[in-house]
C-alpha cells in the first residue's frame, strides 16, 4: 500500500499539461503561399536554387554525407544583395539534423567577398574580419529550435557587446527559401571550425592548428600541427605551468573561462570546446554551442561549472593555471571587473534578447505554423521570458 502511495505522489509531481490557443492580433503570412516576392519583412531573405529532387534526397538521408550544388540569391527589402552565387549545400548537425528543419552548411565555390557586408553585417569585435567568407550555416537553432530560436546568438551577442577577448560565431537572422518555397526562419552563422577561424583572422586554412574536445573530454585533432596539439595535451597531463602559460593566449583563456562558467554552460567543458592557433601563435578558445546554457544547475557556482565531474583537459588546464598566484590574481580581477561593470548584467542580456525577438516577431507565426515548434506563439513568448528569467536567476546566484 505504501509503495502505491509513493508512486502516486511521484506521479503527481511529474504530471501536468498546459496548452494555449492563440488568437493573433498581427498579420500572419501563410507559409504555403509565401514567396520572395510577396514576403513582408525587414530581414534578409535567402533563396537557394537547388535541384529539388537532390535537395529532397539530401534532406531525407540527412545522416549521409550528401553535398549538392546550387546558387544563392540574397535579398533585403526587395533589393538583390547577392545574385546567383555558386554554392555547395549539405546538412549539418548531429542531433539537430533529426529536427524537421535542418541546419544547412553553405560553402562558396570561391571565397565570398563580404567587404560590402552584403552577406552578413553584424556588430563585430575589433580584432575580427568578415571581409572574406568561405562557408557559413543557416542554423536551425539546434536544441533551442522548439523554444526561442535566438538563445545561442543572444548569449554570443552579450559577449560581443562586452568586448570580450573571444572568438565566436557571428549571426544574423534570415528567412530562408528553397526554390522560392518558404523553408523557415534560420540563423545565418559564421563557422567555428578551421575555415571560420582562418577567415576571422584573414589567414590561410593551412595556417591554423585546431582541435576539439568532444563529449567525455576526448580530444580530437582536426587540422594543422598535430604534434603541437599532442605536446599541449601532454603539458596539461604533466602540469607544466611555464609551458602552458606560453602556449595559450592568457587574456582569451581568462575571458573564455569566465564567460562560459558565468552563464552556466552545462554542456561544457567536457564537450563543445575548440582551441586553435595561427602558425606559432598561442592557442585561443572558441565560444560556440550555447543552446544548453542555464538549463540546469543554475544555482551552481562558476567554479563548479569549470570543475565538471567528467574529467577533461580544459578543467585540468584551468586548475594548473589557477594554482599560479599571478594567473589567479589576473583571473579574479577580470571576473570582478566584468561583474562590477555590469557588462554581463541581466539588463544587458534582456536588451539583446528583446532586439532579436523584435526582429523576428512578425515572421515567427509563419514559422510556427509550418513547424509547430514551439507549439504556439504564446509558448514562444513564454520561452523567451523563461530565457530571460533563467539568466536573471543565474545572475542572482553568482552575485
Amino acid at each position: 500500500m505504501k509503495q502505491v502511495i509513493y508512486c502516486l505522489l511521484i506521479a503527481g509531481l511529474i504530471f501536468g499539461c498546459t496548452s494555449y490557443d492563440d488568437n493573433l492580433k498581427i498579420n500572419v503570412q501563410d507559409y504555403k503561399t509565401l514567396t520572395i516576392e510577396n514576403i513582408d519583412t525587414n530581414l534578409k531573405v535567402a533563396n537557394l536554387i537547388l535541384n529539388q529532387s537532390e535537395f529532397e534526397k539530401m534532406y531525407t538521408n540527412y545522416t549521409e554525407d550528401i553535398e549538392i550544388e546550387g546558387v544563392l540569391n540574397l535579398y533585403k527589402n526587395g533589393v538583390t544583395l547577392i545574385e546567383d552565387e555558386i554554392i555547395e549545400v549539405e546538412i549539418k548537425g548531429t542531433f539537430s539534423a533529426g529536427l524537421e528543419l535542418k541546419s544547412l552548411g553553405i560553402k562558396f565555390d570561391d571565397t565570398y567577398n563580404n567587404e560590402e557586408r552584403k552577406l552578413i553585417d553584424p556588430q563585430m569585435l575589433p580584432f575580427h574580419s568578415l571581409d572574406r567568407i568561405k562557408a557559413f550555416r543557416f542554423r536551425n537553432s539546434g536544441s533551442d529550435f522548439e523554444n526561442t530560436m535566438l538563445k545561442d546568438m543572444s548569449y554570443t551577442k552579450l559577449a560581443i557587446n562586452a568586448s570580450l577577448n573571444l572568438d565566436l560565431m557571428y549571426a544574423e537572422q534570415t528567412v530562408v527559401f528553397v526554390n522560392n518555397k518558404f523553408l523557415g526562419l534560420m540563423n545565418l552563422r559564421t563557422e567555428a571550425n578551421t575555415n571560420g577561424m582562418s577567415r576571422l583572422y584573414g589567414v590561410g586554412k593551412s595556417d591554423i592548428t585546431l582541435a576539439k574536445i568532444l563529449e567525455g573530454g576526448i580530444v580530437e585533432k582536426k587540422d594543422g600541427d598535430f604534434d603541437r596539439i599532442d605536446d599541449f595535451i601532454a603539458a596539461i597531463d604533466n602540469e607544466d605551468y611555464s609551458y602552458l602559460s606560453n602556449e595559450i593566449d592568457i587574456d582569451n583563456f581568462i575571458d573564455y573561462m569566465i564567460f562560459e562558467s558565468y552563464i552556466g554552460n552545462r554542456d561544457w567543458p567536457k564537450n563543445n570546446v575548440r582551441f586553435f592557433a595561427i602558425n606559432d601563435g598561442p592557442f585561443r578558445f572558441v565560444l560556440f554551442d550555447l543552446d544548453l546554457v542555464a538549463t540546469q544547475e543554475i544555482d551552481s557556482s562558476p567554479m563548479s561549472f569549470i570543475n565538471n565531474p567528467i574529467g577533461n583537459p580544459i578543467t585540468d588546464l584551468f586548475n594548473i593555471m589557477y594554482s599560479n598566484e599571478d594567473f589567479r590574481q589576473m583571473y579574479d580581477a577580470r571576473f570582478q571587473y566584468l561583474i562590477n561593470s555590469t557588462l554581463l548584467s541581466s539588463a544587458r542580456f534582456n536588451e539583446v534578447v528583446t532586439e532579436y525577438k523584435n526582429n523576428i516577431e512578425h515572421i515567427m507565426p509563419t514559422h510556427i505554423n509550418k513547424y509547430n515548434a514551439p507549439e504556439t506563439f504564446t509558448d514562444w513568448y513564454l520561452n523567451i521570458d523563461h530565457l530571460k528569467n533563467n539568466f536573471k536567476a543565474r545572475e542572482n546566484y553568482v552575485l
Binding site: A11, F15, G16, T18, N23, I26
Partner: protein, 182 residues
C-alpha cells in the same frame, strides 16, 4: 485489572470545487496582461484521520484545472492548465457542523521531471472551512495562496491564488476500537 477503550476514526472522501484563481499582476513579453484570473476546478480524493474528538489531519490527491483568456497587444490566448496537487492539512472540529483546517500543498510547475531546478515546484498555503450537511455530504470553502516566488511564465496558466466552493462526499468512514489493559 481494568481496560481502556480508544477510538481511531478515519474518513475517505471525494471532493469537487469550483472557483476562481487570481493574482495581482502578470507580465508576458514585457507587457501587463489585461486579465490575471482564471476559472478553476479542483477535484480529488481526500483522506482524513481523527487524532482525538477535535484534532485531525487530512491529505489527498487532487487535480487542479485552470482556464483563462488573456490579452497583450499582439496576441489573445486561452490557457488550459491541469496540474496535480498534494495537500496536507491539520484540522480542528469546531462543533458538529463546522470544521476548519490549515495546510500546505506541493505541485509541479513544469511538465517534466526535473527536480534539479528549484523553480520546478510550487508551494501553497491552504485553508479549508467545511460545513457538515449530513453524514454523507459536506460543503467546503477552500483557498490557496502561493508561498514561494515563481515566475509568471508558470502562473499565467495557473494563477498564484484561488478561492473555491466545493462539495465533499463521504465514501467510507472507519472506526477502530482499541482495547488497552491497564
Amino acid at each position: 485489572m481494568s481496560t481502556m477503550l480508544s477510538f481511531s476514526q478515519s474518513e475517505f472522501q471525494v471532493e469537487v470545487n469550483l472557483g476562481y484563481a487570481f493574482q495581482s499582476e502578470m507580465i508576458l513579453n514585457d507587457e501587463s496582461l489585461n486579465n490575471t484570473s482564471a476559472f478553476g476546478v479542483r477535484f480529488g480524493v481526500n483522506y482524513l484521520k481523527m487524532f482525538n474528538d477535535k484534532i485531525y489531519m487530512e491529505t489527498g490527491l487532487y487535480g487542479k484545472y485552470n482556464r483563462g483568456t488573456k490579452k497583450i497587444e499582439t496576441l489573445e490566448f486561452t490557457s488550459n492548465n491541469l496540474k496535480i496537487q498534494l495537500p496536507l492539512y491539520a484540522g480542528y472540529e469546531i462543533n458538529d457542523t463546522w470544521k476548519f483546517s490549515l495546510g500546505a500543498s506541493i505541485e509541479n510547475n513544469k511538465e517534466e521531471l526535473d527536480f534539479s531546478r528549484e523553480d520546478n515546484l510550487r508551494y501553497d498555503l491552504l485553508t479549508k472551512l467545511v460545513y457538515v450537511y449530513n453524514n454523507k455530504m459536506q460543503f467546503s470553502f477552500h483557498t490557496n495562496w502561493m508561498l514561494n516566488y515563481t515566475y509568471d511564465v508558470y502562473t499565467i496558466s495557473s494563477p498564484k491564488n484561488g478561492m473555491y466552493l466545493g462539495v465533499l462526499y463521504q465514501l467510507c468512514k472507519t472506526i477502530k476500537i482499541k482495547e488497552d489493559k491497564l
